[in-house]
């Protein structure tokens, strides 16, 4: 794979293995995986269930640690870090977007977006401003005081994206972000990702739907814990066009 000399490697996965216990036997979820992702890439990780893509996502998101091999994020080896250090990495370097939005139901949109900054002890005024900016970026400036149950699915996902952006992470990690949305909202969300990517964000989307993958620029396919293909997207579908 050719790379431009100015672009730096955000994610470097080398000979990574993940084995976990299920019941009485071992499951070898990831087998000697090698993967490199550069700044400003837009990558889709595809595969059926059981392919290992969810396990890969958990490791990329520092929610889980590899059994062997290495994971360097922004040049830092996070594969052997302690729980507290990983929490800090998740706070600052990773922005999660989940399939079922995962907003806190008792907080307003603004408060939800502020939450990561509360955990990094940012002062109040700074939090407010950053949260407002993020919500404006995703087009929800007029809904900041609404609770999640007062928002549509698409709007909730946009709040989740705003929350993911707010600490200026190195990567945005989206797990089936359109899985719970209708086609209209799905298109809106993919458009937002494409806009963010155009503005410089590095985005990784985990999905089993080819149409979603077609909106990205590179598709890495997993099967049975192994990378079976890693190809650029020939004709990227532009959402909202």
């Amino acid at each position: 794979m050719s790379q431009s000399p100015e672009k730096s490697s955000v994610i470097m996965i080398t000979e990574l293995n993940k084995i976990y216990m299920q019941g009485s036997h071992d499951v070898h979820a990831l087998k000697n995986v090698n993967l490199e992702v550069f700044e400003n890439e837009f990558v889709a990780i595809m595969g059926q269930s059981g392919s290992g893509k969810s396990t890969m996502m958990n490791i990329l998101g520092c929610l889980d640690k590899p059994t062997s091999g290495h994971y360097a994020l922004d040049g830092q080896d996070v594969s052997r870090m302690k729980d507290n250090e990983l929490a800090a990495i998740r706070n600052v370097k990773i922005g999660f977007v989940f399939q079922s939005f995962n907003l806190l139901p008792k907080l307003t949109a603004l408060e939800n977006v502020e939450l990561p900054m509360i955990y990094s002890a940012k002062p109040r005024a700074m939090r407010r401003k950053a949260a407002m900016d993020a919500l404006t970026r995703v087009g929800l400036a007029d809904r900041v005081k609404h609770r999640p149950n007062e928002l549509s699915g698409g709007q909730r996902q946009r709040v989740a994206i705003a929350r993911a952006l707010v600490n200026s992470p190195s990567i945005i990690l989206a797990d089936e972000p359109t899985g719970n949305l209708d086609s209209q909202s799905s298109a809106e969300i993919m458009q937002i990702f494409q806009n963010l990517n155009a503005e410089g964000a590095t985005i990784i989307v985990v999905t089993h739907e080819p149409e979603v993958a077609a909106h990205t620029k590179r598709v890495v396919t997993f099967r049975d814990g192994v990378v079976v293909s890693d190809k650029p997207v020939e004709r990227q579908i532009l959402a909202g066009v």
Binding site: N58, G61, L63, D64, D83, N84, A87, A88, R90, N91, V92, F96, F98, N102, L103, L104, K106, L115, P116, I118, Y119, S120, A121, R163, N167
Partner: protein
């Protein structure tokens, strides 16, 4: 997450379900309010008894003849000379003597009707010794003593019963006594009216009350044809030295007669101390029992916190995924538990103060003011918060150890 943000978050969590919060706090509220009520009542009772004793001369030693029967000679009896002798002892502030007689009855305004009298022969210092409160006129003075004057100080209760009302116009009024052992009537002039120190008499049936009258001790000695007195009242210059002064007094008295162990001395402080100790012990025991409900309340808090942790498994997963450390999660739940118990304890303190006052007011015949001191309140707050910490730490640790991946899958 800084402490302020944690507390804000904890308060809104706790109050998101007000009914559950209240039910959880109930055990703490009951426990703290009972203990506060009981302790304040105990303190109020202790104060009440001390005040009662003060009106009866708490700071004074009482010396009486302790042997009875044939072994007594006239020499052993206490006299006014002993008063003079004891006044010379070091550490002695005042010495007075009293003589009592129940042999007389007092005539009322109704012809032929009399009431039982309790005549106290006193000396001027006795006014100080038992904290006499004069309403009108004056107490017995030294001139009365030196001249055996037929003057009397009656109580306001006696004035009410005999003359219908206690008022200044009664000064100069004549009262009459008659005895069972001699014919004739003893006339006295009222020179003063004092507050009746026996406050409980107001609740009793008048038939059983005798009229308390104070007269010069020398006058009573003449009336009874005796030369002795019953009791010596001794106040020490330094109340802490009372025990030693007492020993000196006994020694002097025995010495002057060449006897030993003739005289008994009663130090009301011992009695009061004993009574206070018993009261304190009783208060402690009852408080301990009440504190059990505090234990139960704490268990209730722990129970609810565990349920809360399980209910919020997904929330914990979300928080961890956006960067909450284990310690952040632990602190969050711990603070919630402490807020529950702190608020419960505060409500308990307020209710306990009200409850104590309510019960104190319901106790018949005694005017008890429940006393709440700062220490009790501070202790109650500390205990409440400690309960929150002790019973909240388990669930908080459980919450902090949840695996984020599992937690996010939970529904």
């Amino acid at each position: 997450m800084n402490v302020f943000e944690s507390m804000k978050s904890a308060v809104s969590s706790v109050f998101s379900n007000k009914l559950r919060a209240f039910l959880t706090m109930l055990g703490i509220i009951i426990g703290i309010s009972s203990v506060i009520a009981i302790v304040s009542l105990g303190a109020g009772m202790s104060n009440f008894f001390e005040e009662q004793w003060a009106t009866m001369g708490i700071g004074n030693l009482e010396v009486n003849l302790s042997t009875w029967g044939d072994t007594i000679t006239d020499r052993d009896l206490l006299t006014l000379d002993d008063v003079e002798m004891l006044r010379q002892l070091p550490g002695v502030r005042t010495v007075t003597a009293t003589l009592q007689s129940w042999d007389f009855s007092m005539r009322t305004m109704e012809p032929g009707e009399t009431r039982q009298a309790n005549i106290n022969g006193v000396m001027p210092d006795h006014e100080q010794v038992v904290n006499v409160r004069m309403l009108y006129g004056r107490y017995i003075n030294q001139v009365d003593i030196d001249n055996n004057m037929p003057f009397a100080v009656i109580t306001d209760s006696t004035a009410n019963r005999i003359f219908g009302e206690a008022h200044a116009g009664l000064i100069g009024q004549t009262i009459e006594f008659q005895s069972w052992f001699a014919a004739g009537v003893q006339s006295f002039t009222v020179v003063g009216i004092m507050v009746n120190p026996n406050t409980w008499e107001d609740m009793m049936d008048p038939e059983w009350i005798s009229e308390n009258v104070s007269v010069p001790v020398t006058t009573l000695q003449n009336m009874m044809n005796v030369r002795n007195v019953n009791t010596l009242h001794i106040a020490a210059t330094d109340p802490n030295e009372m025990a030693e002064v007492g020993e000196n007094v006994i020694f002097s008295l025995d010495n002057s007669r060449g006897t030993a162990g003739n005289y008994s001395i009663f130090n009301p402080m011992n009695f009061l101390e004993q009574m206070n100790e018993q009261l304190a012990a009783t208060t402690l025991v009852i408080s301990g029992i009440a504190a059990i409900s505090l234990l139960v309340g704490g268990i209730g808090v722990m129970n609810i916190m565990l349920v809360s942790v399980i209910e919020r498994t997904r929330e914990i997963g979300i928080r961890k995924s956006i960067g909450a450390r284990n310690s952040d999660i632990r602190a969050q739940f711990l603070i919630e538990a402490v807020i529950l118990t702190f608020i419960g304890g505060s409500i308990g303190i307020v209710l306990g103060i009200f409850g104590g006052n309510l019960i104190g007011g319901l106790i018949p015949d005694m005017d008890i003011q429940p006393a709440v001191d700062i220490m009790s309140v501070v202790l109650a707050v500390v205990v409440s918060c400690a309960t929150g910490i002790i019973f909240g730490v388990g669930p908080a640790i459980k919450a902090s150890r949840l695996d984020p991946i599992e937690a996010l899958r939970y529904e």
